[in-house]
Amino acid sequence: MSRAFLRSAVGLAPLPPRGADLVAFIAWGRRHHILGQLATVWEQESAGKLADVLANARIFAGHDRRMLSYEMNRIARALMGTDIRPVLLKGGAYVAKALTAGEGRRVSDIDILVPEADLKAVEAALLAAGWKPEVSTAGAYDQHYYRDWMHELPPLRHARRRTLIDVHHRLTPRTACLQVDHGAMLSAARPAGDGSLQVFGPMDRFIHSAVHIFADGTFDTPARSLIELYYLFADLDDADQVSLRDRAREVGALWPVDHALWAVATLFGSRRAAALRGKNRLSRLRALPVRLAVAGKLREGAWARLADVLLYPRSHWLRMPVGMLVKHLLQKSRRMISPKSAVAGLPGRE
């Protein structure tokens, strides 16, 4: 069912024709927070209540887009006078480059990547420009968790605009088993807008998206993630498509990229992606549980809950070695039992 929905969502298949199916399709889009993406594909061809629903989503996404553009402007301004040019990651980059992957996308925060050597200077500049440490992660344990183990600073929230920024210095946690060569990707970044900010090249955008989706977290927004991959893949020119796996190997992100190519090939029926996939049977076999879990998440309901049983421990496993993980989970559970023992909130905010 939802594989068909995915194809309709990007315009590869028509909308479900019957009333009840169409209602179910829109309900699915709402649950997965992709009504804005559906609007960019289908609003022009809709009428009546469907057009209303899609227009509503388009207007909401337009607000996120304005917010994001303004935040980019503010970040560039905060760093004015330094020679630091942060790389916009994910949604920020898609909006800055006006990519299909950014159209209609809901955004709640902005992610940037800077060289680790510049981290202190960037944090100081943002604090001076009105960002403050986010209250829910201001506790000592969370600060230590982010600063010593993670790939980003504890989130900062702007005091007046209430917007969140995640400042990354690498693409996976320091403690993660997968370490991507972010240096190589940083040096291949290119200017965005007036040049005070940068974005990754098209291949690296796909690679980072694949890493984020398949090598970090519990795949909580499956439809949104898969649609993003589909559009990013479609944005690669022929030469980039052919070089994609080589580049992935070069920066040490081959297995997440193979998962991503599998998803684009299987779920969206892309022959190009299918032709590029690795031929190694053993690695395909090893990838099977994760792919079954992804399919389960897409089917929702009991299958999704079953998939979580696999994906939740996996997400932690990917983030840190076992000994550390045990200590971290103990800390988390202690906080669940007596929430007042720490300032507030759990680490590992998605």
Binding site: L15, P17, R18, G19, A20, L22, V23, I26, A27, R30, R31, W42, E45, S46, A47, G48, K49, L50, A51, D52, V53, A55, N56, I59, F60, G62, H63, R66
Partner: protein
């Protein structure tokens, strides 16, 4: 291709809630297939709470509804127990608009309150096609009176009183403004009344116009004055604002009127909007046109008769728009 995927039947072809068998209504409600078509919105409702269902059947009797699963809705609302345990033990009910929202679980008899609060939330937090402002709106053929929500200002009581003066009800809760144009759209749901207002309105509107009364809610005693058949019949007819009021009720106070400068009025009005910033320029354009078409006043009064006399005077003063 256009027109083939519209996902709804024209509201004119639709039956009123009262034309359906209560059994069918209950079955559709239990499965979330009841879609209420009111003004610009279609709202899919789901509940098995008996008090909420009875309230709906009585208070929304004249509204067009569809009971099939083929009808697209703008928003959906599930009035349900907070968890499985509270379905059976010390039962509770709360509105669930499909996204996280902090709300107090209520005893099952307060289902109507959960329903009404949920319907407000669903629109206030998810509608972006129109700019929404927290205000009551009534109108006659010449234009609309917009009563901004000051806490304890008595907007609902005043709206109910003006209904008695032959104004039609657009909304007790939201001024819904078309983007680009200062047109106010009707969303005629029951008028929510608190504490002493319940009996004040009952005294002039009559018992048949009122819902049952809920005592001991987190907001005190709550009762509703129903939207009339004529209000529902005019639910697709927008109105142009002529008067914007900021009411203050003070026990025993002398009636008083103070003009409010347009820029000031507009800034105060924006403060009551949950989505003005989301619409951006489209909301700004219509609001500026609105500011040009209205006169704004702070009004203070000590009883309902005074407030009605005062509004009458301001209304005739302005002459025809």
């Amino acid at each position: 291709m256009s027109g083939s995927w519209n996902g709804s039947v024209g509201p004119e072809a639709m039956k009123r809630l009262a034309d359906h068998a209560v059994r069918d209504v209950a079955a559709a409600l239990a499965r979330g297939h009841l879609v209420l078509h009111l003004g610009p919105f279609a709202l899919a409702l789901r509940t098995d709470n008996a008090a909420a269902r009875d309230f709906l059947v009585s208070m929304y009797a004249n509204c067009p509804v569809s009971l099939d699963q083929d009808t697209m809705a703008d928003f959906s609302l599930h009035v349900r127990p907070p968890n499985l345990l509270r379905r059976f033990v010390r039962r509770q009910v709360m509105p669930d608009p499909g996204f996280y929202f902090p709300s107090v679980p209520l005893p099952p008899r307060m289902g109507p309150l959960a329903l009404e609060m949920g319907m407000n939330m669903a629109v206030a937090l998810q509608c972006f096609r129109f700019a929404i402002y927290h205000a009551a709106v009534v109108a006659d053929e010449t234009g609309a009176i917009v009563i901004s929500a000051n806490s304890g200002g008595g907007k609902s009581t005043l709206a109910a009183a003006l209904m008695q003066e032959n104004f039609r009800l657009l909304s007790d809760e939201f001024a819904i403004m078309q983007p680009g144009e200062p047109l106010l759209l009707p969303y005629p749901r029951p008028v929510s009344l608190k504490n002493a207002s319940v009996d004040i309105v009952r005294a002039f509107a009559g018992n048949d116009a009122m819902s049952g009364v809920l005592h001991g809610t987190p907001k005190g005693t709550i009762g509703y004055r129903r939207a009339r058949k004529s209000d529902i019949a005019a639910m697709h007819r927008p109105a142009r604002g002529r008067l914007l009021l900021f009411p203050t009720f003070m026990e025993g106070a002398k009636a008083e009127v103070k003009p409010v400068e347009a820029g000031d009025a507009v800034m105060r009005f924006i403060a009551g909007s949950p989505n003005y910033h989301v619409l951006g320029e489209a909301a700004y354009t219509s609001l500026m046109a609105f500011a040009d078409s209205i006169r704004a006043y702070d009004i203070t009064y000590g009883n309902t008769a005074d407030s009605v006399a005062l509004v009458r005077e301001l209304w005739t003063q302005g002459g025809a728009a």
